[in-house]
């Protein structure tokens, strides 16, 4: 029994700081807003939804107490709909979808809404104070380094230059700007209004469409200081062929800190028909893996390979790819490892240009991919993210 995708929507991304447009908006508002939009767009009888799975990476404070169920209640969905929040770090949103697909394929459930939310301005990254990061015994023992250092480690090991990383970042900015200018995203963006119906944000605000290689080159290294404080040595304990860490990632070639939410509507074919919905794509394969946790940002490679194998496909069977731009180096490494044509990867830009609202990103990427497959009238797409702790998650979809 296959799982089909009927809808995929997302909020615009606000800058994840006080000056960001969505800072004044509670994360539960972001989520409720797109829950309502999903209900309206699909004329959905919410009581027919079996479960709502929401990815959120820092599920504390405004995002605590199971924001999945909380948002359902606030949005006025049927009392019969359960909701939960999951955390697989940066892939939470995609894993929510994969889990939903598994529920449907098991035959035990029929309609699932999955997605994610993250207000990085309201609930700062790592503010949940986990042992992996803040317990001095644990983080030193397992060698858990900040992700920026891990990205720099990949760049150092692979011998990437600053110019290469910046060139990639520039491409992301240009592609994202082009996509926005040409309204590629218009059908999937759910505007955010205030309680009086006044518009707060209708498009991604992190972009810097006018940036240039020269401007990017002036940005200081973002992780040098952290590296000097001892994380470089933690990295080199695991990777002792490194003579000296090169701290090449900057604010310009790393993903942006932003706020946003995203949702996908999944169902089996029969139930979809019964609800009067039109399937847009089918989930062909979904994988979850883990790899060496110190370098951390390479799990997308085995994840994608595993998904391809599951689907009986090879690289060339995939028409378009979305690999989350957490940092430039892991994308370059991924592209190189799977030998992906530059014209097929992150074709409308990514998190470097538009931002990475942690828990929401996975479902955003899946929506972006589906939109573009339809626009180009192509068939297959693979979306993947590198994940903290060395994990990786990938999903292959095929239009129907």
């Amino acid at each position: 029994m296959d799982a089909y995708i009927y809808d995929a929507i997302r909020t615009p991304r606000g800058k994840g700081k006080r000056s960001g447009s969505l800072y004044e908006v509670r994360p539960i508002d972001l989520l409720s807003r797109i829950l309502s939009a999903m209900q309206t767009r699909n004329n959905l009888d919410t009581s027919q939804v079996n479960d709502v799975i929401i990815g959120c990476v820092t599920p504390t404070a405004d995002q605590g107490a199971n924001i999945g169920k909380a948002a359902l209640m606030y949005a006025g969905w049927s009392d019969e709909v359960p909701g939960m929040q999951i955390n697989r770090f940066c892939a939470s949103g995609l894993d929510a979808i994969n889990l939903g697909a598994m529920k449907i394929r098991s035959g035990w459930e029929e309609v699932i809404v999955a997605g994610g939310v993250e207000s990085m301005s309201r609930v700062p990254m790592e503010s949940d104070g986990g042992a992996l990061i803040y317990d001095s015994e644990i983080h030193t023992k397992v060698g858990y380094i900040p992700q920026g250092i891990a990205a720099d480690l990949i760049a150092t090991k692979e011998g990437y230059t600053r110019e290469q990383l910046d060139a990639y970042a520039l491409q992301s900015q240009q592609r994202a700007a082009h996509a926005w200018d040409n309204l590629y995203f218009k059908d999937s963006i759910i505007r955010i209004y205030d309680r009086n119906g006044l518009l707060i944000l209708d498009q991604d605000e992190y972009l810097r469409p006018n940036t240039s290689l020269e401007t990017l080159a002036t940005l200081p290294s973002a992780f040098q200081k952290l590296g000097d404080s001892g994380f470089d040595q933690m990295a080199m304990t695991k990777y002792p062929t490194v003579e000296k860490m090169q701290h090449l990632h900057t604010a310009g070639n790393s993903s942006g800190i932003v706020d946003g939410a995203s949702l996908v509507l999944l169902a089996n074919e029969k139930k979809g028909k019964a609800l009067g919905l039109k399937a847009r794509a089918k989930i062909v394969a979904a994988s979850t893996v883990s790899s060496e946790p110190t370098i951390m940002l390479q799990g997308q490679i085995p994840a994608a390979k595993k998904a391809l194998k599951m689907a009986g496909m090879t690289t060339k069977d995939i028409d378009l790819w979305e690999m989350n731009e957490a940092f430039a180096a892991p994308v370059l490494k991924f592209q190189q490892a799977l030998d992906i044509d530059n014209d097929c990867l992150n074709v409308n830009g990514g998190a470097i240009a538009m931002g990475h609202p942690l828990g929401a990103t996975g479902a955003m990427l899946l929506g972006t991919l589906l939109d573009e497959l339809e626009r180009r009238d192509l068939s297959t797409g693979l979306v993947t993210l590198c994940v903290g702790g060395g994990m990786g998650v990938a999903t292959i979809i095929e239009r129907v």
């Binding site: 803040y134 404080s229 001892g230 040595q233 062929t241 000296k244």
Partner: protein
């Protein structure tokens, strides 16, 4: 044992005076003696006949630390944990009689001794530069066990407590006041007791901050994101400092981090558990062995020739105002000796005095105190261009250029002005003492005194006896070295002496790995991660590749037909002869050196020695680098180059930076287990050649099932 005195203000003074001992020690005996005292004090308090308590000592020192012998020999975690908990309860009882308690600290209080002071509400100390305070436990791989970590956390906040505990510094009273671990200084004993009384009359608060509801840890706990991320950095920094090799600073940080999240008593229990785990770790035992037992064995003078009275040097002549000479001059001065610095001209000799001035300034700038004032020290330095000024010197040390002619010349000049009791020490690194001594008019007074660079930081001096050196001279050299608070080890006059010879095997093993196809960066990282201060290639560059090769030449001469050439010699020859890369002094060696830039590994190495080893076992590479040294040190013991195991161990740690957490180069074998060590050597011998063949001494020991002590 505990004298009890109560005055008209209902203030009780408890004076510690343990019978049959020079110092008060915190052991079971004193804890038991305190039980009835505490009970009585509680009764007095209940009857409202107690205003406050002063604890002081009748000895010269206040209270010494715990019982290392007991801990070292104890392998039961239950007992160690029980011991820590008992002491902890004692301190809780002491700080909880419901009235304030003052520690009137009349002398040194270190380690557990200082923990007692921390368990008092207020600490007054006599301001005397001979008094030392604080927590040096970390130097022995230990940490406080009885609430000391948690009390400092509550007194200073996490970050400062971490600094105090992990620096292991013994603080003078003024430094301790600045660090915030004591409250007030006093002029003398009467002033101290008066200040203690005044404090007790000023307050009736008998609770510590952690026993008062609403009181919090200064600057916050790790629940505060700012402190949390500081603590995270501190953890990362420990890896930077010493990779995962020293467990004690980690245990201290972890106790502070975890302890900041829970109540005081739970936090103290977490401390006891970390402490117990630490005692059970081999690194801790190795460090206690080296820095306590081996250290005391050496200083007890077991190897000092017997029958000669103690030599008390007052004035030292130093020839050569270079880095080495100036360093020696400063160390002598700092330990109370007068110094005469001689060089080719007074202007050059003045450079030595300039250096001493800089060092004194840096003491002042960093808040470290010395017994005398800067001017008093400078008055004790004389600079000169003539040996005539050596007339009243008890000993003269030369630290001139490593050249036999130059050394002979300065020796003969100096001897003309020295009396027949004075001794002459040479700081040569490679010329045999007997050979140099042959030129002396009083060869019996001539001896090798091998200091290590930087002199201020390296506490070791190799004493090398030439054929004609008298036993009395050896005894005097020993006394001189201990007078300047360095560790003397007696070494045979042989090629490379001890330290240089063994250190060279580390360098050669690293160079050989290059030849085997391991990437240079990997070799360097393996060296550093194994606990050595630098990578082998960096050490080769520092020493100069010529000198590394020269030691091998000396070995070849010494062993003759028995000499088996080290495979790394080929690499050295290529580097020196073909590539003309001879080391840091030439700005090119295994590294490339450029002005204002960190040296980096020379790119040409990859072309010369192809990186063929893609898969590697890091544990084995690290081990090989240490095994090479361990085996050479055993040869030295077998050949009598070094006289005792404690000397071999401490000599290795201080002489060339062999990892302290291994307890030194010979303790390494005990730690590894002799039988396992022999098996591993056999495997290395078949994989890498005869340099891993074990000296006969080891196989004999294995048969006899003996261990090194």
């Amino acid at each position: 044992m505990i004298y009890y005195k109560k005055d008209t203000d209902n203030i009780v003074t408890l004076t510690l005076d343990m019978t049959g001992r020079d110092t008060n020690v915190l052991n079971h005996e004193i804890v038991e003696a305190f039980i009835p005292v505490i009970r009585h004090l509680q009764e007095e308090r209940d009857k409202k006949r107690l205003r406050g308590i002063i604890i002081t000592s009748a000895k010269k020192s206040f209270l010494a630390g715990g019982d290392l012998e007991y801990l070292y020999k104890n392998y039961s975690p239950e007992e160690i944990f029980g011991f820590a908990e008992t002491l902890q309860q004692f301190f809780r009882d002491l700080e909880n009689p419901g009235v304030p308690v003052v520690a009137a600290i009349n002398g040194t209080a270190l380690g557990t001794g200082f923990e007692l002071a921390l368990a008092c509400h207020y600490r007054v100390v006599i301001d005397d530069a001979s008094v030392m305070l604080g927590h040096p436990e970390v130097r022995l791989g230990l940490m406080p066990s009885s609430g000391g970590v948690i009390r400092l956390l509550w007194l200073l906040g996490l970050e400062k407590a971490f600094q105090v505990l992990t620096s292991g510094k013994r603080l003078r009273p003024q430094e301790a006041l600045q660090a915030g671990i004591i409250d007030e200084l006093a002029k003398d004993e009467a002033d101290m007791l008066e200040k203690a009384r005044q404090f007790l009359l000023s307050t009736q608060e008998g609770r510590r901050p952690w026993d008062i509801k609403g009181e919090t840890i200064p600057f916050g706990t790790v629940k505060n994101p700012v402190i949390a991320s500081k603590a995270r950095m501190l953890g990362a920094n420990l890896i930077k400092q010493s990779y995962h090799n020293f467990p004690a600073p980690h245990a201290i940080l972890n106790t502070l981090v975890e302890g900041s999240k829970v109540d005081f008593d739970t936090a103290c229990r977490i401390e006891s558990r970390y402490f117990t785990q630490l005692i059970m770790r081999p690194e801790t035992r190795n460090m206690i062995k080296a820095f306590w037992f081996d250290y005391n064995a050496i200083l007890s003078g077991a190897n000092r020739p017997k029958g000669f009275g103690k030599f008390r040097p007052k004035k030292v002549g130093i020839i050569g105002a270079g880095t080495m000479g100036s360093g020696i001059a400063f160390e002598c001065l700092r330990r109370g000796l007068e110094v005469v610095i001689k060089d080719v001209s007074k202007a050059v000799a003045d450079k030595g005095k300039e250096y001493v001035t800089q060092q004194l300034d840096s003491y002042e700038n960093t808040g470290r105190t010395l017994p005398l004032s800067k001017n008093q020290y400078l008055e004790r330095v004389k600079t000169t261009d003539t040996s005539e000024d050596f007339e009243n010197c008890d000993l003269v040390i030369e630290a001139v250029f490593e050249n036999k002619m130059v050394k002979t010349k300065v020796l003969q000049e100096a001897e003309n002005h020295m009396d027949r009791y004075s001794i002459f020490g040479t700081n040569t690194v490679s010329i045999p003492i007997t050979e140099l001594g042959a030129a002396a008019s009083r060869p019996e007074n001539f001896i090798g005194l091998h200091f290590f660079s930087p002199v201020e930081q390296c506490p070791l001096v190799e004493i090398v006896k030439g054929k004609q050196t008298s036993d009395e001279t050896v005894a005097r050299a020993f006394d001189f070295v201990t007078a300047i608070k360095k560790i003397p080890i007696l070494v045979k006059d042989n090629w490379g002496f001890y330290a240089s010879r063994v250190k060279n095997t580390y360098i050669l093993e690293g160079i050989q790995m290059l030849q085997e196809g391991y990437p240079a960066a990997l070799i360097e990282n393996m060296g550093i991660q194994s606990g050595m201060p630098k990578g082998p290639l960096a050490m080769a560059d520092d020493l100069s590749l010529d000198l590394v090769l020269r030691y091998e030449d000396l070995a070849a001469q010494h062993y003759g037909t028995k000499y088996i050439q080290h495979p790394a010699v080929d690499v050295l020859k290529i580097m020196i002869e073909e590539e003309k890369r001879r080391g840091a002094f030439k700005m090119q060696g295994f590294y490339q050196y450029e002005a204002q830039q960190e040296p980096y590994l020379w790119e040409g190495l990859e072309t010369l020695f192809k990186n063929t080893k893609v898969d590697f076992n890091t544990d084995e590479l690290k081990e090989r680098l240490l095994f090479a040294q361990v085996l050479e040190a055993v040869w030295c013991v077998q050949e009598g180059i070094v006289k005792s195991i404690p000397e071999a161990n401490l000599g290795s740690i201080h002489g060339w930076g062999f990892p302290a957490f291994k307890g030194g180069v010979i303790q390494y074998i005990n730690d590894y287990n002799l039988e396992r060590f022999l098996l591993k050597c056999k495997a290395y011998e078949s994989d890498h050649g005869p340099r891993f063949k074990v000296p006969k001494m080891l196989t004999t020991m294995a048969t006899e099932q003996s261990v090194f002590v």
